[in-house]
């Protein structure tokens, strides 16, 4: 029954969006994690979404979402001259993550809206199925 496939598809989307929320929260949490060298500094992480082209069974009308991986941002790190800082290196510099807080907030809102939409879709599909099941009673 094709209504069942909606749950699978929306489920993959919920999974992907919650992962996106997770990366966003870890980016925001580490926005001010200071370190003394470029190698140790936290870099912003972002998931890469892709459609699942070969859906298990079905006839290709339900395409879910998969997370291909999580990539680290290649933006330059922020360097700050602060010799008083305990983490400062020999030249007096500290390194701050390349997290763009504004971008992350926008990401967070987008992810939570998408999550809500998919929950709504699941609820509607559930209602449709329940009504179908109670037909003729």
């Amino acid at each position: 029954m094709s209504l069942f496939n909606i749950f699978d598809t929306a489920g993959t989307a919920l999974n992907a969006q919650s992962l996106r929320l997770n990366t966003t929260s870890s980016n925001l949490a580490n926005a001010n994690s200071v370190s003394s060298s470029t190698g140790e500094t936290y870099r912003a992480r972002h998931p890469v979404f892709a459609p699942i082209m070969k859906q298990l069974g079905g006839d290709g009308s339900s395409i879910g979402v998969q997370v291909k991986g999580v990539v680290e941002s290649q933006e330059p790190l922020r360097m700050e001259y602060n010799p008083q800082h305990p983490m400062a290196n020999e030249e007096g510099y500290i390194f701050l993550p390349n997290v763009n807080v504004v971008e992350e907030m926008a990401n967070m809102i987008s992810a939570s809206r998408s999550y809500q939409t998919n929950v709504e879709v699941m609820n509607s599909a559930k209602q449709m199925m329940m009504r179908t099941l109670s037909m003729g009673q």
Binding site: S2, T9, A16, P51, V65, A111, E120, V121, M128, R131
Partner: protein
Amino acid sequence: MPMNFDSVLGIHETALNLQAKRAELLGANLANSDTPGYKARDIDFRAALRDAQQLGGNAGPMQATSRRHMQPENYQMGAQVMYRQPLQPSLDGNTVESEVEMGAFSENAMRYMFSLQIVNGRLQKLITAFKGGQ
């Protein structure tokens, strides 16, 4: 008025099937609202229902008579699945517009409920007839 099970369901059996299919397509669109390069898809419900009614079960693409023939793609129950023209195209190639899809999904769900309601009403009538009005 003679009444049998076929005439109880009538057009609504086809309609319910198509609407369930369309709900699946629109659900997939909404699931991929943030997937780069994803193209939103939909079926022309009116045309699909008309074809399904006129041609019975024979609507749709040319039939492949051998497994080695090219199989027709992009058809769901005789309805051609088409790509949506976006109102505001986005840079990442995604053509899903959440509000458009959500509107279509809700409308489709309402129509599904409507068809169900009618079938249910007819079934109730039949049940009443079976019981002799008791």
